[in-house]
């Protein structure tokens, strides 16, 4: 099997007037299908830039990037948009759900930008994705009627609906409390282990990184460490170990 993500000597320079900021200074790594990877790094380490490049929102100044075997170098904006649509599912820190729009319609959104999908197929696939995040019974609810954790699960369903080769999560637990964070990580682990989804999570909490199989650490635009995690912590057990917060 070929790599989902293959990066070779990726550089990214930002030019602000006379000043050139080198955000990435030659990053190389590969992600194999079925891997669950976390990217760690302090702010300014270049992890957001790396995430943008992996997510095809940005292009590298130099170096080769193959997403699922496709070189994105010569692609224009529109081609990148449809590549994102087919290959990548995004999960954001702030959920980014459309307000006053039902969970189901939020999940349907990526399918709207794909040709040739009937309304009924769209609905079926969105319901299916909502079932995967155990929110099928809340499909009519609007974001303001859902808790933070539920909103993030809707966002994950939205990332799943297109059956992408890669799920990219940018600090998915950043806005959530510990308990809800563990719930979300449990879901992500299940998606990875039970459904063999390839998942890449950006975080700055070592706590979260412990749930993944491999951790990339960035510092100052370079890959500092690329470590396999020999004993992956189970998010389910972690969730069980913290006391239930129903006493107030």
């Amino acid at each position: 099997m070929s790599a989902i993500v293959h990066m070779e000597n990726i550089r990214r320079d930002f030019i602000f007037g006379p000043q050139v900021v080198k955000a990435l200074k030659g990053v190389s790594f590969s992600v194999q299908p079925g891997e669950f990877i976390t990217i760690m790094g302090s702010s300014g380490s270049g992890k957001s830039t790396l995430l943008n490049i992996i997510g095809c929102l940005d292009k590298a100044t130099e170096g080769e990037y193959l997403l699922d075997g496709t070189n994105v170098k010569s692609m224009d904006k529109n081609e990148l948009a449809s590549l994102r649509n087919r290959k990548i599912g995004f999960v954001f820190q702030s959920f980014n759900l459309l307000p006053r729009t039902s969970a189901l319609e939020n999940v349907e959104l990526p399918l709207l930008y794909q040709k040739g999908i009937s309304q009924s197929e769209r609905r079926d696939r969105a319901m299916n994705a909502l079932e995967k995040v155990k929110l099928a019974d809340r499909y009519e609810h609007r974001p303001n009627q859902l808790s933070g954790g539920q909103q993030q699960r809707v966002a994950i369903a939205r990332a799943l609906v297109n059956e992408p080769v890669l799920i990219l999560a940018d600090e998915p637990t950043g806005n959530l409390d510990t308990r809800t964070s563990y719930e979300i990580m449990t879901l992500i682990q299940e998606l990875n282990q039970d459904q063999q989804k390839t998942i890449l999570v950006v975080t700055h909490e070592p706590d979260i990184a412990a749930f993944s199989g491999r951790t990339l650490t960035l510092r100052d635009g370079r890959l500092l460490r690329d470590a396999q995690n020999p004993n992956i912590r189970s998010a389910k057990e972690a969730l069980a170990s913290i006391p239930k917060a129903d006493d107030f």
């Binding site: 529109n78 948009a81 994102r84 980014n96 959104l109 930008y113 297109n162």
Partner: protein
């Protein structure tokens, strides 16, 4: 993205802010409504002026005595006192001018019409038999006088409805009755059909028509005429006929080159075009003012669309990150703007039609709503929506997804 999905997304976005969408629409509604109302008022008054003239006979040409040459002492004379038109002129015109369908001398005399104990102040028109056809007057009962009556200075007349009303009892048949005009008895041989008032408020039924010879000889005791009425074969030919008349009249009056005309020739077409151009100018002016409000409505759309784009920057970023192309975003915002302008336009058309109806119903102004004014203003407002919605939409489409997602 399919058209239906675009519509759905745009409608949902507008529903999120119903009041704002409506207020934005209001600019367009008022603009379109105003344009349609103003155009209908303009059209209506133009039509009413035209119909007044055509009821007077659009191809009528009137010749009146006129002089710029001051009389001794510097006094200028009123046209009825200038003695230049004669029956000879009528004869010459009849012989030499082509393309005329009717010709009549004319002179009027004011006085009291009397019958028994009733009387009515009016004037009597001394004219030829052609006069009725020139003025588009119709006989309701009885008959017109003829050449025999002219030759014999017959004391016969044809009277209008106002005269009938004032001299006769209701239901009485005036035909064959005798009335007096001043001291002269006239036999009524015909009654004219009612014509009502013209736009200037003149009663067109307050009229007594009699052979000109009778008036010249028995009432006015003159050999001069006050008018000569000519009907051109068609309205288009009236200018040509006018030129011929001027030539003939100058020859008949033996005027030398350079000498001013001692008569004045006027066509109705001239008057109509003057009046129409005045009312056209008013229509244009009113429509222009209304059109400005349409432009302001368009700017309102643009303003709100810019606000909306800024407000929804994160949404745009999200849509782009999950695969929306710039074109999809552009179309989404453009569709919103067009929905606002089309809906506003439709409501505006309704408003305009209703307002015109109210104007004609309660102000009694004539209004005519032309389909063209509705179609034009509707398309103008759709164009307004596209035009003013385009720039905000372009702005939305050109956003960078990374920046847009981070926008606070």
């Amino acid at each position: 993205m399919s058209f239906i999905n675009l519509l759905k997304i745009a409608l949902r976005a507008l529903r999120r802010n119903k009041l704002r969408a409506f207020l934005t629409m209001l600019g367009i509604i008022i603009g379109v409504g105003a344009v349609i109302t103003m155009m209908s008022i303009g059209e209506g008054s133009k039509k009413s002026i035209e119909s007044t003239f055509s009821s007077m006979g659009t191809n009528m040409i009137t010749i009146r005595p006129y002089s710029n040459i001051p009389m001794p002492g510097g006094v200028r004379m009123g046209s009825s006192n200038i003695q230049t038109l004669t029956l000879n002129d009528v004869e010459k015109i009849g012989e030499e001018v082509k393309n005329i369908s009717a010709l009549s001398p004319g002179l009027a005399s004011g006085g009291q019409a009397i019958r028994g104990s009733k009387n009515w102040p009016t004037s009597i028109q001394g004219v030829g038999p052609d006069y009725l056809s020139i003025r588009k007057l119709e006989i309701a009962s009885g008959s017109n006088f003829n050449e025999e009556h002219i030759k014999s200075f017959a004391k016969v007349c044809v009277i209008g409805q106002t005269v009938v009303k004032n001299l006769f009892e209701a239901g009485e048949n005036p035909v064959g009755q005798i009335i007096r005009f001043g001291k002269i008895p006239f036999q009524v041989i015909g009654v004219l059909a009612a014509k009502g008032q013209n736009t200037f408020g003149q009663d067109q039924d307050d009229i007594i028509v009699a052979p000109y010879t009778t008036i010249m000889k028995r009432i006015s005791a003159t050999i001069y005429l006050q008018n000569i009425y000519v009907s051109a074969v068609s309205e288009d030919l009236s200018n040509l006929v006018t030129d011929d008349i001027i030539r003939t009249m100058r020859a008949s009056h033996k005027l030398r080159t350079g000498q001013a005309n001692d008569f004045d020739v006027r066509t109705q077409a001239e008057l109509i075009s003057n009046m129409s151009s005045t009312s056209n100018m008013m229509t244009t002016l009113l429509t222009a003012v209304a059109a400005i409000s349409l432009v302001i409505g368009g700017i309102g759309i643009m303003n709100i669309m810019y606000v909306s784009v800024t407000e929804r920057t994160r949404e745009i970023g999200l849509r782009m990150s999950i695969g929306a192309k710039g074109r999809d975003i552009l179309l989404q915002f453009l569709t919103e703007a067009i929905i606002i302008s089309i809906t506003g336009g439709l409501i505006g058309v309704l408003l305009g039609v209703t307002a015109s109806w109210f104007v004609s119903r309660f102000l009694n102004w004539p209004t005519i709503i032309s389909e063209s004014s509705m179609v034009i203003s509707f398309f103008v407002c759709v164009f307004t929506g596209v035009f003013f919605g385009y720039y905000p939409a372009i702005k939305a489409a050109s956003l960078d997804p990374i920046d847009a997602l981070r926008y606070e």
